[in-house]
């Protein structure tokens, strides 16, 4: 038996790790896994970096940032598996949603909702001398940060100038929204459902409307661990792929909800967990587990766009964090077909613009609102 320490953050999309443990799939692969619930992404990153954890549920851009040394000392990470597609959403306070509807009822009735109405609210507030609206995301290097920024900028709102953007831990989002400390947020499941069910927030756009098939969390570890433990890594990948397939199956939905709702895992009401598992989060179907390098490239395009990474920097090591080769090997041993190409032209985002990784730099420079750092 290989002993592994794996970390997770209490979010619905940690499901493959929880399922692999609870259903004995790790044990079937000869792994003795200890799961460790962590309180912050920074601690996940640091514990993986120093070897206190062998691998973890990670924000994909965090693994890329760590590899490039953005926001800290460089530590090469790899992401051989995507844990899920979709699951995050943008939610605003009930008061802000009302102000947006009042400012531009037509824009608010469109699907998917754009930030046009928000731009009008902001213009009115500015004219009236009101303070900046505050929005929250969960980490600087996260799909939540990039999705919120992308969505806002597309509607003419500059996320660095027209609002105040802060980082708040997911479990505190709903209470901070209720208390009026923040006016909106982009966070993963189940926290949008929690805010909506408590009557403090209104959901504007889900990840599946923002970018159908867009990326979310990954299973990540240091490259040195992956290189030194190829067999344990393949065993873990097989268990997690099997767990993802189990988590997708409608017949297992109720059991999955009950499992995740337990206090040692996500620890929120089962109804809030169930919400994003219906027509939103995908764990396995449609190659959801495949770590498309075009997803890594899109994250890099946004890191460049918002000045987190120098526009002239070599981005190749960032793209190579994603390891489709390791996924393919595990999938093949399970008899599961995997895409043969590493990268693809991605499906269009909600604004109708598709991302072609071949034009990464031009794409990053092409946005009217951005903080390019040359």
């Amino acid at each position: 038996m290989s002993a592994l320490n794996l970390g997770f953050i209490p979010l619905t999309d940690c499901a493959p790790l929880i399922v692999a443990q609870a259903k004995g799939l790790f044990a079937d692969e000869g792994l003795d896994v200890a799961l460790s619930r962590e309180a912050s992404w920074a601690t996940i990153r640091d514990k993986v970096a120093v070897g206190a954890l062998d691998g973890a549920h990670m924000l994909a851009p965090m693994a890329i940032a760590a590899t490039l040394g953005a926001g800290g000392d460089p530590v090469a990470m790899v992401a051989p598996l995507a844990l899920n597609r979709n699951g995050s959403a943008i939610t605003v306070s009930v008061a802000l949603a009302q102000a947006m509807r009042q400012a531009d009822p037509t824009a608010m009735a469109e699907g998917p909702v754009t930030a046009r109405a928000l731009a009008k609210v902001i213009a009115r507030r500015r004219a009236g001398g009101a303070p900046l609206l505050t929005f929250a995301v969960v980490f600087p290097y996260s799909i939540h940060n990039y999705a919120l920024r992308y969505w806002m900028a597309q509607g003419g709102v500059d996320p660095d100038r027209d609002i105040r953007l802060v980082v708040i831990p997911p479990p505190r989002m709903a209470e901070q929204l209720a208390a009026g400390v923040i006016d909106g947020f982009c966070v993963g499941a189940p926290w949008n459902a929690v805010a909506v069910s408590e009557g403090v927030g209104e959901l504007l756009i889900r990840a599946s409307d923002f970018w159908r098939g867009g990326p979310d969390k990954v299973f990540g570890m240091t490259r040195s661990w992956a290189d030194a433990n190829p067999d344990a890594l393949q065993s873990a990948l097989r268990a997690l792929i099997a767990a993802a397939a189990w988590a997708d199956a409608p017949a297992n939905r109720d059991e999955l909800v009950t499992l995740l709702a337990r206090p040692e895992y996500v620890g929120v009401a089962p109804e809030a967990i169930a919400w994003a598992l219906t027509d939103e989060i995908v764990f396995h179907a449609g190659d959801a587990g495949f770590p498309w390098r075009s997803h890594a490239a899109w994250f890099l395009s946004q890191m460049v766009r918002w000045g987190q990474v120098d526009a002239a920097a070599d981005l190749t090591p960032g793209v190579e964090v994603y390891r489709p080769d390791l996924f393919r090997k595990a999938a093949a041993s399970l008899g599961i077909a995997a895409p043969e190409t590493d990268s693809r032209v991605e499906e269009a985002l909600f604004d109708g613009v598709a991302f072609n990784p071949a034009g990464l730099r031009a794409y990053a420079r092409g946005f009217p609102i951005g903080r390019l750092r040359a």
Partner: protein, 192 residues
């Protein structure tokens, strides 16, 4: 030098703050959660934060939002002391140092914090063990009582029987006593 200790565990925070009292000319404050207004008012040179605090991600983001914050915060990355940051993370503590603080001043603070964190863990471990022992003694007493009643044994004989069962099974006496009580419950119809 001003040190802010952020720890959701108030007892541990107090232990760290007390330990830091002896280091340098210090002003130490402790808070269970991060508060931007308090941070701006106190303007710490170093923030010591428990790894089990969810506020680490917020602190992490302060580097990025330089304009909105009165003092830039950078993550502790002291290349002059290799392994220190690693030891700290393993001990469950991280630190954010305001840009410009001399590395030599960071080390003693982090070392005190690490020592106090492990001391707290040891104290908590001892307490849990003491509680478990007490619990086990209560269970053994109840099992003894049951044997005395059902088998007409005196107290010494009941204890010797329990001890023999434990040795035969190679299990702790508390566990054997708990099994005995559970089975007695089943025989009487509890939980059936």
């Amino acid at each position: 030098m001003r040190v802010l200790v952020i720890d959701p565990d108030p007892a541990r925070a107090a232990l760290v703050a007390e330990g830091l009292d002896g280091v340098d000319p210090l002003e130490v404050r402790q808070a269970p959660v991060f508060d931007a207004v308090e941070l701006a008012a106190f303007a710490p040179d170093i923030i010591v934060v428990a790894c089990d605090s969810a506020d680490r991600d917020t602190l992490e983001s302060l580097r990025e939002a330089g304009e909105a914050n009165p003092r830039p915060v950078v993550m502790f990355a002291d290349r002059s002391a290799p392994g220190l940051a690693e030891q700290a993370i393993r001990a469950g503590v991280a630190a954010y140092v305001v840009d410009g603080l001399a590395p030599g001043r960071v080390r003693p603070i982090l070392e005190v914090a690490m020592t106090r964190f492990s001391l707290m863990q040891q104290l908590r471990g001892d307490l849990a063990k003491a509680k478990a022992n007490l619990e086990s003694r209560k269970v053994v007493d109840r099992a003894k009582g049951l044997l005395m009643k059902e088998r007409g044994l005196d107290e010494d004989a009941a204890y010797r029987l329990l001890r023999k069962l434990a040795m035969d099974k190679g299990r702790p006496i508390g566990a054997v006593a708990a099994d005995l009580l559970a089975f007695a419950g089943v025989l009487k119809g509890d939980g059936a």
